[in-house]
Symmetry: D2
Subunit: 338 residues, 4 copies
Amino acid sequence: MIKAAVVGGSGFIGGELARLLSRHPKISLEAITSRQLAGQKVADTHPFLRGYIDLTFSESITGHGLDVVFLATPHGASMKLVPEIASSGAKVIDLSGDYRLKDPQVYKEWYGHEHTDLENLGRAVYGLNELYWDEIAEADFVSNPGCYPTCSTLGLAPLFANGLVEGGVFIDAKSGTSGAGAELTKATHHPMCGASVNPYKVGRHRHSPEIAQTLTLLQGHPAEVVFTPHLIPVVRGMLCTMYLKLNDDLTKQDLLEMYAEFFRRKRFVRMTEVPWMQAVIGSNHCEIGLDVVGNRNVVVMSAIDNLVKGGAGQAVQNCNAVFGWPEETGLDFPGLGV
Amino acid sequence: MIKAAVVGGSGFIGGELARLLSRHPKISLEAITSRQLAGQKVADTHPFLRGYIDLTFSESITGHGLDVVFLATPHGASMKLVPEIASSGAKVIDLSGDYRLKDPQVYKEWYGHEHTDLENLGRAVYGLNELYWDEIAEADFVSNPGCYPTCSTLGLAPLFANGLVEGGVFIDAKSGTSGAGAELTKATHHPMCGASVNPYKVGRHRHSPEIAQTLTLLQGHPAEVVFTPHLIPVVRGMLCTMYLKLNDDLTKQDLLEMYAEFFRRKRFVRMTEVPWMQAVIGSNHCEIGLDVVGNRNVVVMSAIDNLVKGGAGQAVQNCNAVFGWPEETGLDFPGLGV
Amino acid sequence: MIKAAVVGGSGFIGGELARLLSRHPKISLEAITSRQLAGQKVADTHPFLRGYIDLTFSESITGHGLDVVFLATPHGASMKLVPEIASSGAKVIDLSGDYRLKDPQVYKEWYGHEHTDLENLGRAVYGLNELYWDEIAEADFVSNPGCYPTCSTLGLAPLFANGLVEGGVFIDAKSGTSGAGAELTKATHHPMCGASVNPYKVGRHRHSPEIAQTLTLLQGHPAEVVFTPHLIPVVRGMLCTMYLKLNDDLTKQDLLEMYAEFFRRKRFVRMTEVPWMQAVIGSNHCEIGLDVVGNRNVVVMSAIDNLVKGGAGQAVQNCNAVFGWPEETGLDFPGLGV
Amino acid sequence: MIKAAVVGGSGFIGGELARLLSRHPKISLEAITSRQLAGQKVADTHPFLRGYIDLTFSESITGHGLDVVFLATPHGASMKLVPEIASSGAKVIDLSGDYRLKDPQVYKEWYGHEHTDLENLGRAVYGLNELYWDEIAEADFVSNPGCYPTCSTLGLAPLFANGLVEGGVFIDAKSGTSGAGAELTKATHHPMCGASVNPYKVGRHRHSPEIAQTLTLLQGHPAEVVFTPHLIPVVRGMLCTMYLKLNDDLTKQDLLEMYAEFFRRKRFVRMTEVPWMQAVIGSNHCEIGLDVVGNRNVVVMSAIDNLVKGGAGQAVQNCNAVFGWPEETGLDFPGLGV
């Protein structure tokens, strides 16, 4: 058993990490930190963990001889913590936005402050697991992707990697409210969102440049991304419906074969006629479907559990890569369906 | 047209009052106050009112020559405002909890502070419209009931008024989240309540003594009330399922006839086999159904729109009584159904 | 008072028509038909109408001396009924899909059978009220648009009418389940859709050619439409998020001014920063917002109540046009908000 | 590995059984039957099982040398199948209602037909696992309880077993719609239930006598049960709020100690201040809270996942008892929380 800790365990992603790590056959969860809740039982904040996690929140992670540290801290906080943790010899998997954007100018533009840890920014491997397993397997510092970038990029990667996209892509994303986090906001106040689908941050969400960065790398020239997130009245789950033009005459069958090849042997990506969000809830799976409509228009649909494949689950999957275990270790269970 | 104002118009009940009053054929809404939002457009806070309410929030209601003032202020605030408003000659309809409990000791026990306006407390008429129309018609100060007391007392009144209840009553109440108000709370954070039914304040909700007070008056001796509210994942709507023992052998048919008689000519109470919450949403109606189960056990079900009949709608209905108009004036529309 | 009837009143649109017509100050609802439910109380099927509609379902509408007939019948059924009703002298407003597509070949392609009433197809006026008021005012036969075409076309019309669109448009539509009708289906079985957002009929929905037809007319050359409907876990409400490229450098401010001009004096269209679906629920309003993102990309968002503006409400609005009344007659109330 | 089969695998409980058994470390799932779907992939009906269950539905279970058979068949069907399966030597766990009511007269009264397998009815052990582990461990035929009886009886058992209840109990139950099964019904049509809480079968649900039977056994004299189920707009989850009078003066603390003792070493029952349904979703846990209100009134709240602890999970737990494994084998994971 390797020793792990979660830094910043009071939020939803922190709780989900604890939930998954508590069942991981090769990881022992030694500590969960929270400055505000230090000294309190973790299971008081995350009552679903009673009987599974007996830890109290601690202030720091020192003294545990950790092999891996998961950072579930807010952006801005992560980059203050990473240098010291990384120098301790522990592997680091950061779930914040701090190390996702490779260009510090772009980071500053979208996050509103300077990046203060360029050294680790340079060596961070972007943990979109299905695309970068080999690099992640060699890494000791992984930057875990955002939920929207995970869902949308998986759905789009085969098309961009094969250079098939004419112009840009329009991403219409629908997320359950758990994606917005534990902080109370008007947008997630039930009376404001419980009977509605609410767009927000149209064209201004920080996940836009993250998606564009990966698609650009995949196709080898700048990818134009128009990204519109919406909150939907479910707690968990995410669906991205994506629209683009092909630069060639390809049939649905052509594309399905290309996708099958692209995701060959990838345990967590399932091609399907139309994704059913409920089929992936509680699991690390991603369901992808697509259609060709009219003249070279492609609609791609991709569904994940935003807290699992879109967060804690992919972090565990990346940890599995880092330590050389099969990708499904500790994640080998289906979604709920109904 | 008489002149009306809403004091404390930033919350959900304030917005709903404005919505209803904007369509009332005999009332002109002259002012809506909010200390915090003074100077801002009412329709910026309540965007569904664009095109219907062109007012800006004002700081005070003086200078309008008002005929009636609706107080949608929090408890504690109302009793500081009522003396002056009442002395101005305007009729007052208070939607807070300040004047509902007749005994100032009971008020203090449940609201945590002394009552400071005993004079108006003494003369306030409890505005459970179907029960007290005649008194309300004579009043110039009405204390509008809480949402839970409206829903549950309407369902129980015929049984208690006819002295048929053996022992007390158990009230299992389910409310949409709009009943909890506009203030952000963990209980109404969508991720915490959006896929759940959550009991809260078991036996400790301030509406318990309010319900007991009316039932006690109806049956002429102390009524024991056990009241458990739950938040359900809908924005609007309330259902109370209520359980009690009869002290006599009566059939369902006997009870249905008694209810029909009790609510004769009451426009907004509908007897039905089983209430359908959606049938009353957006309307001032109350649907009531009941069954006799086994040995003298009665199950009564009562459904309302918590913001209309459970708040702003009943306030308008009470205003109609005060001014001698038909009860349905400005409220004569059906619920949404689907 | 003019005399009206609803043919095919057992479904959700039929119930909603009855709900609205029961409150219309200039219309007397004389009959509601349903072959299957003939002889039964309308309010038994639509319990929210108890106290408002005392009719029983009838088999036919003959003998009432009707001024206007609303057809809420399925496609295929309407075109069998229209010739006789139209010849009776009554105005006709058809809410089915039978008379929306002007080209009988296109109709056959999408609806799967020949059109059998070419005469009335030729003279039917397409009732997208905000666009064609003048034509509707002259008509005695109106074909009421589908819910998705209403919501999306209103959001797109100013751009297409001004010839500003480069290429086609991607329409990502989210509809409450009431839009799918009263018939039981697996897609609307709560356990399959209640915690999900489910795309369906991707690129194959019958509303696609209807949207394309109007946009084509507006811009004067063929409009390419890619349309993906989704079911969302709300009962009422619809949001369309739409993506396209401008063929010119225009700012958000430019577009907002164009929209304001286009919808000048249109009571039911409200421009807003971001539409809030709940703000229009229960009302005939449409909220539209837009943004320009990156290089000439436009995101337009449009929200309606699918049963009101997307169905029965617009039918009443069209009836108002036909009879020369103000458009808001019988529809002059705001949405629910919370 | 022992060999298991699921008979009647096309429904929600059948799918959930397959989900759980696919991960069970000591069970190999050999066959899943469905007469209607024979020859089709199980994962086509239950798409969340793709990658986990590669079986096709079969017509029968013969020829597998099975050690245990789970019957997820409808009542009426089970009692036709059990005699043959039981005589094959396989252990049987029946999830239908056929063997729950010990008195064939009561069975006939509530299920509407004669019981045709009195022999197995006589020897069936009622699988309310936390109460009857020892008997189940000795059994080769287990009748798995209904979802409502599991949830409510667990919450009430300590009070009834200690003879503390004066009179009967009122059970107000709220269930997610998955409990109603895969069959399409008006009650589970999303537009009818998606924005509502709907009571049904008030006092007439078949789980009433099942609950009364166990409570009667526990207290040693007839228990009066008034049971009102409600459908709530969530897919999974169940909460029972229960009301009764104590026959003695006991404090909340007294009761909590009694419950702690009663459920000592029971892995899946968690005492909590107020149950949070979301905390048990996806898991086999039951959360119980209680309060004493006023004069000897007790409110007990109990929450489960209706498909897991209320169905397939408890069946697996019972299987674990039958084969002498720890109760949490294959079930040792927490609920989702958010």
